[in-house]
């Protein structure tokens, strides 16, 4: 279908475009930007007056809960939530049930996702079999099946020798290893940041050094091996400082944070709010401010939803027994805009953290608007407020501390490969 | 309305009480006005007679409507109640509910031989079959009027009247 997107504010961070320009789409691709090609007759004109038109968002972590965890959420519900959040490509971690450690599972997931004709799904393969941290997976096979990189998700990898070998093996084929840095001994049984609030509430703590010690181990192994590593979900000031220094030294390391962590701290746990039970935990205000700064100066490459829908019953438990995680796909854009406006960050820079930068982390030619490329677009109103409620969310998970909060930034249209897959 | 002099009433009550006293008699004042009055009468009697105090908060029948009283004072009964002739002293007798509560509480301390009720003011309005044997004054008051006993720093007792919003 030929589509003409008219009158929007076009933002393409990669090409440094921020101007009112029209886009012309045909056969799933961007045909032209600016002037219409001579013989273009649009089947549909989208009026984008007052709206921002940008590349579709790329989310570096969204749990779709399939296979195996459909009681929490289903592929249908979460893929719908993705496009409702303006996300056109997403990376899903391998900690499904069973974990994504066999090519057949990956192919099945991609097939199921593709048939839904919504966002594009890029699975991470398990780094070790069953995520047990002992034996390597068939990474080359998994890559052929569609895995974009390899990860332990939140499963511990305590044996440094296995980690070293996994990084060596992955780098043999040029694969990036995604690791969430956490020393599993220091984090054992912990459910909150080991600080003032956990001490007051009597919750078992995860010290900040559980993250920095793990980062130190990873960075030292990187120097040994020369592998590319993406650090997932930083949460501490020390962690940000270490990555900044590693990048200065030229190590091939990238990192992201979950969007809730750009706003919340241990204080938000309040009276045991289980919606604030997340891993890594919300840390001190000092840590949170360092994340906001690191995101601004580019130390932190990308911001992701860290989407983890949890069924209501799993949150209706005493804090430590509740399931960790937040729903995030539909909050990714508004919470990023909130960070940007609070930090005085220009809109194109904020959008880059959701498009250009995650594409670079993934090594994909995406997150950019140019003739000839797939027409994956997000069209949103940056000034429109909406209230986060279970009704408003398409995700099956209602688990976010932002419930009943009004946020600015409403997605109006999402296009994947030239098809309008969501409009409101 | 001209209120009677509480000090004079107390003296008159003391004269009424004196002939009723036996060797097993004790005085028990009900918080807060009744305690002041009992102390006054005790002093006027001028003889060795045990004196106790009761706070009936835990025995009130309006707990489920109005909860626990903001200021609960401990009851202090420094003698064995069993076999005693108790003179129960209160400032104002109205519905009779406080006296009911006080008698219930006294029976949880033991089995008295008898109880005599002595009040400064009987203002009518009884809701229970309770009557005073010793009365300082009988006053006709409207339901929205609230009569109260006060004690100044010198220990002088005086009555005061307040309009209440019902």
């Amino acid at each position: 279908m030929k589509i003409h997107i008219r009158g929007g504010r076009l933002i393409d961070p990669k090409n440094k475009i921020d101007a009112h320009q029209d886009i012309f789409i045909a056969a799933g691709k961007i045909l032209a930007i600016g002037e219409a090609p001579g013989d273009f007759h649009a089947a549909r004109v989208i009026d984008a007056n007052g709206l921002v038109v940008c590349p579709g968002l790329i989310d570096l972590s969204a749990r779709l809960r399939e296979p195996g965890l459909e009681y929490m959420a289903t592929l249908e519900s979460e893929m719908h939530a993705a496009v409702a959040g303006g996300v056109t490509s997403l990376v899903c971690p391998p900690d499904t049930d069973p974990p994504l450690d066999e090519p057949g599972l990956v192919e099945m997931l991609r097939h199921r996702a593709k048939n839904l004709h919504q966002a594009r799904v890029f699975p991470l393969g398990a780094l070790t079999q069953k995520l047990e941290g002992q034996r390597l997976t068939e990474m080359a096979e998994l890559h052929d099946a569609g895995c974009i990189a390899f990860s332990q998700a939140d499963a511990p990898l305590t044996d440094s020798n296995v980690l070293l070998r996994a990084m060596q093996y992955a780098s043999t084929f040029g694969f990036t290893v995604w690791l969430r840095p956490q020393d599993s001994f220091l984090a054992r049984d912990g459910v909150a940041h080991d600080g003032e609030v956990a001490s007051r509430l009597g919750l078992a703590g995860i010290p900040a050094c559980a993250e920095s010690i793990a980062i130190a181990r990873i960075l030292l192994l990187m120097k040994e091996v020369g592998a590319k590593v993406h650090l997932c979900r930083l949460s501490t000031r020390d962690g940000v400082d270490m990555v900044r220094e590693a990048k200065r030294q030229g190590l091939p390391v990238t990192c992201d944070i979950g969007v809730h962590h750009a706003h919340l701290s241990e204080m938000d746990i309040g009276y045991f709010n289980s919606n604030c039970h997340v891993i890594p935990p919300f840390r001190s205000l000092r840590d949170r401010d360092a994340l906001r700064e690191g995101l601004k100066d580019g130390t932190i490459d990308a911001i992701c939803s860290d989407h983890a829908p949890v069924d209501d019953d799993a949150k209706l438990l005493p804090f430590a027994e509740s399931e960790a995680g937040v729903t995030g796909l539909e909050l990714l854009l508004p919470l990023t805009l909130k960070w940007a406006s609070e930090m005085g960050v220009e809109l194109p820079v904020a959008i880059a953290r959701l498009t250009t930068e995650p594409a670079r982390v993934l090594g994909l030619n995406k997150g950019v608007l140019a003739p000839g490329l797939n027409a994956d677009l997000c069209i949103f109103n940056p000034d429109e407020y909406w209230k986060v409620t279970p009704r408003a969310l398409k995700s099956q998970g209602n688990n976010t501390p932002f419930q009943n909060t009004e946020l600015a930034g409403k997605v109006r249209y999402t296009l994947v490969e030239g098809h309008v897959v969501y409009e409101s | 309305m001209q209120l009677p002099d509480a000090e004079k009433l107390a003296q008159a009550m003391t004269q009424q009480i004196e002939p009723l006293l036996g060797e097993n008699s004790v005085l028990v004042g009900m918080h807060t006005g009744g305690v002041w009055l009992a102390e006054k009468i005790h002093a006027l009697l001028g003889r060795e007679i045990p004196l106790g105090t009761l706070d009936v908060s835990f025995y009130r029948d309006d707990f489920s409507q109005s909860g626990l009283h903001a200021e609960v004072a401990p009851s202090d009964i420094p003698f064995d109640v069993t076999g005693r002739d108790i003179i129960l002293v209160d400032d104002v007798l109205y519905t009779g509910r406080s006296v009911r509560a006080a008698m219930n509480e006294l029976f949880d301390y033991g089995r008295p031989a008898s109880i005599i009720l002595a009040v400064l003011v009987d203002r009518g309005g009884r809701e229970l079959p309770i009557a005073a044997q010793v009365t300082g004054a009988v006053l006709e008051l409207a339901p929205d009027q609230n009569i109260q006993l006060n004690r100044d720093p010198q220990g002088q007792l005086a009555l005061s009247l307040r309009q209440t919003t019902v």
């Binding site: 007051r200 009597g202 919750l203 309040g270 009276y271 709010n273 209706l316 027994e321 | 909860g67 949880d108």
Partner: protein, 321 residues
Amino acid sequence: MAFLSRNPQLNQHGELQHLLTIEGLNAGMLRHILDTAESFVSVSEREVKKIPLLRGKSIFNLFFEPSTRTRTTFEIAAKRLSADVINLNINASSQSKGETVLDTVDNLAAMQADMFIVRHAQSGAAHFIAGHVSPHIHVVNAGDGRHAHPTQGLLDMYTIRHFKQEFHNLRVAIVGDVLHSRVARSQIHALTTLGVPEVRVIAPKTLLPAQVERLGVQVYHDMAQGLKDVDVVIMLRLQNERMRGALLPSAQEYFKSYGLTQDKLALAKPDAIVMHPGPMNRGVEIDSDVADGTQSVILPQVTFGIAVRMAVMSILAGSKQ
């Protein structure tokens, strides 16, 4: 970002609806509970140790974690108030078979419960239950994980006031496993709220929570320094499972460094009192000579505990709906 939430212990009139933690209650509220308890102490000395205040009310002792002592004191307190008491020990293994805490609570609420006394191994369990019961039900936290044990904290304050009259001129030392102790947290909040100018904690670093000084206490690692000139010494129980492993090498070494003996107690003020929430590990955190000595007020603590729990139940049951 700050999500404001109402203090879940208070109703819309600012009265105590639940007692979940000492934290967030003001000095006036704490004093009111202690004053009320004083009246109940005299009730316990009468021939009939029972008053009709809570006649017809059903109080459920909901113990997800076993504790005969605490359950018994709540049971006695409730019975002295003429309430009907139902004891339920819900063992953790049958709980994990699908029935959640809320299922249990909903079931009991349907049996016309008026009050739940809750003991649970997880911090925040009492808050969680209070947040989900219907508004006419009151919840008393009888100990949740490491978080709070407010009636124990209150009875300790009652004991201190009984023996020391005032709070504003005291130096109080809390000794032992503060990290895992809900009792210590409740005591610290109560002492600081009631105006004790100097609250000390004395423990090895492995038994102190992160940033404990933020709770308003001074930290000591040495008994000789920490006990110097204190008016009140509160000993904490050391659980068996903490005694060997990464927190402490042995009970013997712990006793040597942190056990309370007559020699160490001599460093405190001559009229200092010694308290312990019980049950004691004699020869681990406290020497028998001290536990049974003239400065020990451990048995009065138990007696006062019943009066304090009666006061808490009466005040909650009397709050408006």
